[in-house]
Amino acid sequence: MSWTYNDEVMDRYQNPVKNGRMDNCDIKIDEASTTCGDKVVLYIKTNGNKIEDMRWEGDGCILSVVSTDLFCENSIGKEIRSIKETDDLAFVENFPVKISPGRINCVLLPLRAFRRGAKEK
């Protein structure tokens, strides 16, 4: 007996790789989903229009935590604009497990936060 969430997801939930504060970041985004109680802060270090590093702090459900941690890791080296233009559906499909419709917003949390807060200079 276990979660449908596979081991990849559960491992990352229990041991996220990008969790923790970042001092001297260039962009800091506070995101709170009022309906879910999720609270996440994204810390972003940029290099021109590219992401040099990204970390997060906060709490949420397994899906939003894992999605946020993966998002931080996968964004490194990418252009801010191209990340913002990621298609919602593609983003959800890239998530390591299949998501039921009621949970899609959990997975989208970091992308939405990023779109809202990551302004190009």
């Binding site: 007996m1 276990s2 979660w3 449908t4 559960m10 939930y13 229990q14 041991n15 996220p16 969790n19 923790g20 504060r21 309906t35 879910c36 109680g37 999720d38 609270k39 802060v41 702090e57 906060g58 709490d59 949420g60 459900c61 397994i62 899906l63 939003s64 935590v65 039921s100 009621g102 949970r103 959990c106």
Partner: protein, 420 residues
């Protein structure tokens, strides 16, 4: 007498299998499943004598009017009211909004409305809507076990308190509030007393009393169809109130710039009424009457006992609300501690703290096992804030649930309790 396995055979949805297994539906607090008898009443109405009601003289319309008014009378009898005190609305939310837009709108700056911290949004927002106009909304609190703090309520009941509106049963804590006692206190203060009975009338015997001015409830939470709700109102109050929505059916006379309204309850039912909904609700009431409301209550207490006991035996599960099943209904909000989690808590200055599974994760975990519980804030955010939580999972029972459901639920939850 309900068998310990519930009455699933009357409810067609329970013959559905998902992934080859039965459905364990534990979300009746949100909405209930419908017995064949209710579905037959709906189809029977449309197949037999569907027509627009009132003021028309042909056979089908006569029959439709009769069945609509009989349904009203069945609702009235069910709660011990008079026929002309029963207004059909869409749901509890609309019943309470009707009051906000009529007696609420007649309040003056400085008047106060007293509710509790355990209300559903539907019994909060219609009242805070009036704050813009200088009306003050007060909240009576509850104690650690989720009992309403009657002392606090009394102390917040002021001369300016024109309306007191209280839920009979909390949709999160399960707490059954002592509305007879509260009614007496409220009437000593000459305030209007409103009861949100969305979670009580479906689950226990209920009779209107002299202290109760208005009572709101929903058909879909008591085996009836969606789209039909009820507002009981004391006739002499209804008679003095202005109407809410305006349009067809609710008038005696209309001229270009003047209007004479019908008498209650028709005055409050603008436009073509939901005859289907009334007929379906009436059939639901007939179904409940056959079981008997005492028996419904006894059955739910039994399932709740099993469940609370099961949860008390678990290491990492906490439930909310009264410990004593006499003081609560068959709705159990709970959380599960996530012992595997090592992250820091942002709000508590990065101190390691007990970490709870997110309620959506609990619901998804159970969903995998065909056990359907709700998760989130249950439309009661102020209550959640009072508990210091952002959400809980919630299981709730009704007549179709049996001991088997409670056992499978507890077994499945046990698997999360010991996860990894």
């Amino acid at each position: 007498m309900i068998s310990v396995y519930g009455r699933k055979e009357d409810f067609p949805i329970f013959s559905r299998k998902i992934n080859g297994k039965n459905i364990i539906y534990l979300d009746s607090t949100a909405t209930t499943q419908k017995p064949r008898q209710v579905l037959d009443a709906i189809t029977g109405y449309y197949e037999g004598y569907n027509a627009n009601v009132h003021r028309s003289v042909y056979k089908l319309a006569d029959e439709a009017t009769e069945v609509y008014e009989q349904s009203r009378s069945n609702v009235a009898q069910f709660i011990g009211a008079k026929n002309n005190e029963i207004i059909f609305t869409r749901n509890t939310t609309e019943s309470l909004n009707l009051l906000s837009f009529t007696i609420g709108d007649s309040l003056r700056r400085g008047d106060r409305i007293l509710i509790t911290s355990m209300e559903h949004h539907s019994n909060i927002l219609p009242w805070t809507r009036l704050e813009d106009r200088g009306i003050i909304v007060d909240y009576a609190g509850f104690d650690e076990e989720g009992h309403l703090d009657i002392g606090d309520l009394e102390s917040k009941l002021k001369r300016e308190t024109k309306i007191v509106s209280v839920t009979h049963q909390s949709n999160v804590l399960g707490t059954i509030n002592p509305i007879e006692e509260i009614g007496k206190i409220v009437k000593e203060n000459d305030s209007i007393f409103i009861i949100d009975a969305a979670q009580s009338i479906p689950h226990m015997p209920f009779r209107v009393r002299d202290e109760y001015d208005f009572v709101a409830f929903s058909g879909h939470k008591m085996l009836g169809p969606m789209g039909i709700g009820v507002l009981y109102g004391k006739y002499e109050l209804l008679d003095k109130m202005p109407p809410f929505n305006r349009g067809g059916e609710m008038i005696k006379d209309v001229d270009f710039h003047s209007v004479i309204f019908e008498d209650p309850p028709i005055k409050f039912e603008a436009g073509t009424p939901n005859v289907e909904g009334a007929v379906g609700l009436s059939a639901a009431i007939d179904y409940l009457k056959v079981i008997g409301m005492e028996e419904v209550r006894r059955h739910e207490k039994h399932l709740t006992s099993i469940t609370l006991k099961g949860m008390e035996d678990m290491k990492n599960v906490t439930y909310y609300g009264p410990r004593n099943v006499e003081d609560r209904g068959g709705v159990i909000a709970f959380n599960v501690k996530d012992v595997t989690n090592v992250r820091m808590n942002l709000e508590k200055n990065n101190v390691k703290l007990d970490h709870l599974y997110h309620s959506h994760d609990i619901a998804t975990f159970l969903d995998e096992r065909n056990v359907y519980v709700r998760s989130g804030h249950h439309c009661a955010e102020p209550l959640m804030r009072s508990l210091g939580l952002s959400g809980t999972a919630r299981a709730s029972y009704y007549v179709y649930n049996g001991e088997d459901d409670a056992e499978i639920f507890i077994k499945s939850l046990g698997e999360l309790d010991v996860q990894r």
